[in-house]
């Protein structure tokens, strides 16, 4: 096993869930006909000027405080200048040396204990506008390129982590937790397919070379289209860098930072064509925009608006509802809507663990089969809560639980209606006792077997009892029979 440590830092671009773009009023809706959501401002038309969208700033602030960042009192806009066909102004409005937030952290953990819980430091999170989309043929010469500027000017929050992750798994855990946090606080839908969340990874190795710590050159990996891809790309890249190091001995600083693209089908990273000289973006403050001041009150209001974060909620589920770390993670990681459903059901049922079992097994299974979100689940949270409380009180025999659940689900009935339809009624104990006595009288061999120490022999009576009265609770029948035999 090669002896090296993988060092990973992530740059995540998150599209903020604003109705309109960062510096104009064009819609940010995904999927419109190309170049229909544009105006003179976002396409950089001569004479146009940007005006900041306050909603984007508010969402960015909310995210920054959720990531435990420091919010400086003053932040400003800078122009990052480069030429590219999908960048109509020839510069991107971004934030350079005074980002709107810095020095935060996000805690990651693994309920399967594959790594120890740790804080991943956030270097900074800053706002910027997105570029457009180029669709082109890479073949030099006559190939035609087309550009869609619908996305141009969409607000992005770039969240840059410190190189605190040590494996693809940790990177994935960070992304899962980040996505969960951002969806919980409602600042982004984090939809990777629609480009609302994009990840670049910076990877290198620290290895021990004869007692001396050596770092390999940092590689930036792009083109990763899922969290799974990020995990795989990092693991692949670590192995590749180790091989390269063994072959060439190249160290950090020997060559400029390389960019490699992830080829998901082939499972490899490939070098991308890079300029010989490093790019100089010639950042300078955008004279068309005024600096932004954050008051203490605004920061406090943003913090207050957060509500409970996923990590808080996991802790609460364990301490207040007696769930295991694993169960708490399963519920919380399903997102805030499912968690709200769970909590509403617990309110009615009063038993967090029992509700968790039904939600994490049956409810989630059905949702997965039907590929539907919790909002369209036919059993209301209160209805599920009542169902669980009936099971708990014994009003509904546990043996009939799944039957009732299925009827509630398929026929959209309440628990009472479902039980009625299935003819399930509570059986009076004295009635059940009479039934059990009759059965014992008719089966002396079983009575003898039990007396001889074969308690499981009672099982045969349970079947008979159910035939005579389908509402008989198997556990109760078993107990009554044993009690009666003891008295005989």
């Amino acid at each position: 096993m090669p002896d090296y440590t993988t060092i990973v830092g992530l740059e995540v671009h998150v599209q903020l869930a604003t109705k309109s773009k960062l510096f104009c009023r064009c819609s940010t809706q995904f999927g419109a006909e190309p170049n229909t959501q544009t105006c003179p401002v976002c396409i950089g038309m001569p004479g146009s000027l940007p005006v900041m969208n306050r909603e984007a700033l508010d969402l960015a602030l909310k995210t920054a405080v959720a990531l435990n960042c420091t919010i400086p009192p003053l932040t400003k806009w800078d122009r990052k200048q480069y030429y590219y066909p999908d960048l109509p102004k020839g510069y991107q409005i971004s934030q350079y040396d005074m980002p709107m937030s810095e020095h935060g952290h996000l805690e990651i953990s693994d309920s399967k204990d594959r790594f120890e819980s740790k804080k991943i430091r956030i270097l900074r999170a800053h706002l910027e506008e997105d570029a457009g989309k180029s669709i082109h043929d890479e073949v030099a010469g006559r190939a035609d390129s087309v550009i869609d500027l619908n996305r141009t000017g969409t607000p992005l929050l770039e969240i840059v982590s410190e190189p605190d992750m040590r494996s693809g798994l940790e990177a994935r855990a960070y992304l899962d937790e980040l996505k969960l946090l951002l969806t919980y606080i409602g600042v982004s839908d984090c939809n990777m397919q629609e480009g609302s969340l994009r990840v670049d990874a910076n990877v290198n190795l620290h290895l021990d070379s004869g007692g001396e710590m050596i770092a390999t050159p940092i590689v930036e990996i792009k083109n990763m289209n899922s969290f799974r891809a990020v995990e795989r790309a990092i693991e692949y890249e670590a192995g590749r860098q180790y091989d390269v190091w063994q072959e060439t001995g190249a160290k950090l600083g020997d060559s400029p930072k390389q960019t490699r693209g992830w080829d998901d089908a082939a499972g490899v990273t490939r070098g991308q064509r890079s300029k010989e000289e490093s790019s100089d973006y010639r950042y300078f403050p955008d004279p068309d925009l005024v600096p932004v001041v954050f008051t203490k009150e605004e920061v406090a209001a943003a913090t207050a608006s957060l509500g409970e974060k996923p990590a808080d909620l996991r802790g609460k589920l364990q301490s207040e509802h007696g769930l295991s770390a694993y169960d708490a993670e399963v519920l919380v990681n399903q997102g805030r809507d499912l968690l709200a459903y769970y909590l509403a059901a617990v309110d009615v049922a009063g038993d967090g663990k029992a509700v968790c079992n039904w939600v994490s097994q049956d409810v989630l299974r059905v949702l997965k089969e039907r590929e539907e979100p919790i909002e369209s689940f036919p059993i209301a949270a209160s209805s599920l809560g009542k169902f669980v409380s009936k099971l708990k009180s014994g009003d509904l025999p546990s043996s009939r639980g799944r039957d009732v659940f299925d009827v509630m689900l398929d026929k959209k009935l309440s628990v009472d209606e479902a039980m009625h339809q299935l003819g399930i009624e509570e059986v009076d104990d004295s009635e059940l006792e009479t039934l059990c006595q009759q059965l014992l009288d008719a089966n002396p061999k079983i009575v003898d077997d039990v007396r001889g120490g074969k308690q499981q022999a009672v099982g045969a009576l349970i079947g008979q009892a159910k035939k005579r009265n389908p509402n008989a609770d198997p556990g109760r029948v078993r107990q009554l029979c044993l009690d009666l035999i003891a008295k005989m």
Binding site: P46, P88, Y283
Partner: protein
């Protein structure tokens, strides 16, 4: 009565009383343009049909008793750097020769709302870069006072149009003196308002932190009229100030106890003696009107030009990046450049220069390179290069950041001076209008013409050029008046006071 020699304020009165019609007035200007524009060349395009339609509309509305804007029926010429829906905006550049914006600049919208008659688009230095209008890609504009001389720049067309009575009012832009210096050269009044007073939305940017739109006219009263129409807060411009003030009423009120400052630095080496005499005479006039003269010092003003020529090109290099042949303006012949590129590659490969062949431009980069090389003129390219250099890694601190610091010190000088005086008076330009062609090969000498004007842009204060004399050869000389930020009212009242005591503004060139 010659309609075209009246002030806009007087024309408004005649229009209001029904003594003249807007069509009559517009036609009078169009006739004058037809007769004289060939000599002057103030316009890139005269929009005669549009002007007459607008004038007709004003007359009809007036006849039917509908309310009208404060510039109803008054012709206004506009520098060809403001977006006008349905009209080209060329910035006198080959790059934007065919560019037409789908929207109106805020100032254009305000002029239309005031029922002004937009009579034409005036010539200028390309992208407002220059001080002689000779950097126009399309034509030369002559100074109406001496056709061999420059009207100044970059708003040379706007100043010449007023001087030649092609329009009573015109709109210019001023980034380092581009309204005031041509106003001075052409013997008209030109004002650069406080930065943020007039919306820049729709003004094709040269240097965003310095650019400001402003009025040109024969009289300070007319300046007040036009300034009132175009100023005010605009939600489309984040740097726009939220201060609304009336100027047309207050302008006629003289100022009691006016304190006029003059900076000793403004009367040092490099100032033409005739200009100095005219300016000192003007100071004397103010004294005779009861003003007190105070000598002040602007110790950092000597760094103004250097500071300006770092900041303005830096911003320009960024603002002009959008003209890349992809989205806006001129695009080089792609078929031809691809052919050239292929030929270059074949030649290098044949010579065994594989590495050089690989490092050739991509077609996209070559298209950028050629489009910008061919679309921009020499001065624009010079400034883009200056600015790109100043913002480059390793130079940023020494140039751009240093310039920002000096800018702040110049502003501190101004703040101190405006605690002592209400108005700062001095020369606008070191000389009267120079001959066409005399400075085109000496960009540095051309830049130094801006020495008295750039500080107003660097500090954001309002500043105005008012005609205050003539050279022995009959060339106009301008008096530079500056006031503290948002003190346009003081500036206008001081300017009007001067014009009530002098008749320089009534002089006209013989065409």
């Amino acid at each position: 009565m010659l309609l075209t020699s009246l002030s806009a304020v007087d024309q408004c009165r005649l229009l209001d009383s029904g003594e003249i019609s807007a069509v009559e007035l517009t036609q009078a200007y169009l006739d004058r343009i037809s007769a004289q524009e060939g000599n002057v060349g103030a316009f890139l395009r005269v929009t005669a049909d549009r002007a007459l339609d607008a004038a007709k509309c004003v007359d009809q509305r007036r006849a039917s008793g509908q309310p009208l804007g404060k510039l109803a029926g008054i012709p206004v010429a506009v520098k060809d750097i403001l977006a006008q829906k349905g009209e080209r905006t060329t910035c006198a550049s080959k790059m934007l020769a065919e560019f037409s914006a789908p929207y109106d600049a805020t100032v254009i919208a305000k002029l239309k709302a005031a029922d002004a008659v937009l009579i034409g688009c005036t010539n200028m230095d390309e992208f407002a870069m220059g001080g002689s209008t000779e950097n126009s890609a399309f034509k030369v504009t002559a100074n109406p006072w001496d056709l061999k001389r420059s009207p100044g720049g970059s708003s040379g067309g706007a100043a010449a149009a007023v001087a030649a009575d092609f329009a009573p009012l015109s709109i210019g832009t001023d980034t380092g003196g581009s309204i005031r210096q041509p106003a001075s050269f052409c013997g008209v009044v030109g004002m650069k308002p406080t930065y943020g007073r007039v919306s820049r939305f729709g003004l094709v940017a040269f240097a965003s932190s310095l650019d400001q739109i402003g009025p040109l006219a024969h009289t300070v009263e007319d300046i007040a009229l036009l300034h009132e129409a175009i100023s005010g807060h605009d939600p489309h411009d984040s740097t726009s100030l939220d201060h609304t003030t009336q100027f047309t009423e207050s302008v006629r009120k003289p100022l009691d106890g006016l304190r006029i400052g003059y900076a000793k630095e403004h009367f040092a080496e490099g100032l033409d003696s005739e200009v100095e005499r005219a300016v000192r005479d003007a100071l004397g006039t103010y004294e005779s009107l009861g003003a007190r003269l105070v000598e002040v010092s602007l110790p950092h003003s000597k760094y103004g030009v250097a500071t300006y020529y770092v900041i303005a090109p830096s911003e320009a290099s960024s603002n002009l990046a959008r003209y890349d042949g992809v989205h806006y303006g001129y695009r080089a012949d792609v078929a031809k450049l691809t052919e050239e590129l292929n030929a270059e590659r074949a030649e290098l490969e044949e010579a065994g220069k594989r590495r050089e062949a690989e490092n050739l431009d991509t077609p996209l980069v070559r298209m950028y390179r050629k489009s910008r090389s061919e679309g921009f003129g020499a001065e624009v390219k010079r400034r883009i290069m200056l600015g790109t250099y100043a913002l480059s890694a390793g130079y940023y601190d020494a140039y751009y950041l240093k310039a920002l610091k000096v800018r702040r010190m110049i502003r501190q000088d101004y703040d101190r001076v405006f605690e002592q005086v209400d108005v700062l008076a001095g020369p606008v330009a070191p000389t009267p209008a120079f001959e066409l062609g005399s400075l085109v090969d000496d960009p540095l000498a051309m830049y130094l013409v801006d020495m008295y004007t750039v500080s107003a842009n660097l500090t954001g204060v309002p500043a105005m050029s008012v005609p205050c004399g003539q050279s022995n050869s009959g060339l106009p000389i301008g008096l530079h008046l500056q006031a503290k930020p948002l003190a346009e009212e003081t500036l206008l009242r001081a300017g009007h006071m001067y014009q009530t005591a002098t008749d320089w503004h009534t002089k006209r060139p013989t065409l």
